[in-house]
Symmetry: C2
Subunit: 206 residues, 2 copies
């Protein structure tokens, strides 16, 4: 059985929702960032990077949200969570996910994880001050150029949708007004009504 290592309020929610959308049989394993469990020897044996998510499978352990999302789509093809038979459409979806992980999530991370990239407190505070601007710039690209509607990649719901929804949960915390981005805000609202999303959020809040 699949086992998802997750932490509340992190990008692991995207894979959690994808597992729900796929109708997967899986178990949850919670990692407490408050207790720094992601750096425990037990967890580092699962993911030496000390990050979430990690997905334990019968073949081995996978990490990195974009890789896990596509894996879930591939092993549950009946859920139609990715355009698996169309290389170009698949690449467009992958590009969307790659932007989320390497640009938008990274911009957001400068609010609470600045110590990854600087040691002194003044620099870390300076990074925090820039987060609203840098995150807003990412949403401008998404709203104007990348988001197709009604779902991220157009007519078909894909794993890009739970990924965008997950990161968009952080907008207010990042100092970005969702009302500035009506298409992203509407997507977030519609996503929050999906049974898979409600179930995943309820499990993480429990």
């Amino acid at each position: 059985m699949l086992q998802l290592y997750y932490a509340a309020d992190t990008c692991s929610l995207a894979s959690h929702i994808a597992l729900e959308e796929a109708g997967a049989d899986y178990q949850l394993a919670r990692i407490s960032f408050a207790q720094n469990e992601q750096r425990s020897p037990q967890y580092l044996a699962i993911n030496p990077k000390g990050r979430v998510p990690a997905l334990v499978t019968d073949r081995g352990i996978l990490t990195e949200t974009p890789a896990m999302l596509v894996f879930i789509a591939q092993i549950f093809p009946q859920a139609h969570l990715a355009p698996l038979d169309n290389a170009f459409a698949f690449a467009e979806m992958q590009a969307f996910n790659s932007f989320l992980c390497s640009t938008l999530h990274v911009a957001h991370a400068h609010r609470m994880r600045g110590s990854r990239w600087a040691d002194d407190e003044a620099a870390i505070e300076s990074m925090k001050r820039k987060v609203p601007d840098s995150v807003r710039g990412c949403y401008e690209l998404i709203e104007r150029h990348m988001f197709r509607g009604p779902w991220a990649m157009g007519e078909a719901y894909t794993v890009s949708d739970p990924y965008l929804f997950t990161i968009a949960q952080w907008m207010e915390g990042d100092g970005v007004d969702p009302m500035s981005f009506p298409r992203v805000a509407d997507h977030r609202r519609r996503m929050s009504e999906r049974p898979a999303v409600r179930k995943a959020l309820a499990a993480e809040a429990a």
Copy 2:
């Protein structure tokens, strides 16, 4: 015909090498960062993100290195650049690429692109000082946990190899001694001898 928008000394080299490895018929279009061409209206019409690489195809334009690398592997299956028939192995390769784009490349980017994440000069200088540490931490994970040998993902050469090679070109500039990471250094040396790599490097230096 495919057209690759690239800039010298950037991650676009990975896609350039992959196109060579695939035996693709493609054209190069150079973007000069020195002349800020990535922010020109002409280029923003191709890639609104103002970054390289971008790949013009007969279906449309693709961006984001991890997406482009897999697309190249998929449309040239005879080149065997990815484990396309094995969802788990494919996900492992994608996880490797995702780590390169969202963690290692991001750590490196704090040396020359700090203005993405802070406005004041002192903070940007502070970020630069941390780059050797943060980049070294990424190579420790690659050397000890992620790199399998002889190629990144093991016996089979994949698109992860040109991607690792491309980023590993920046080690010295990032203040990281390649000799501290003998497996990565050996990979870099073997990669530099491949005809596809030599041809791509020569074209970008021309």
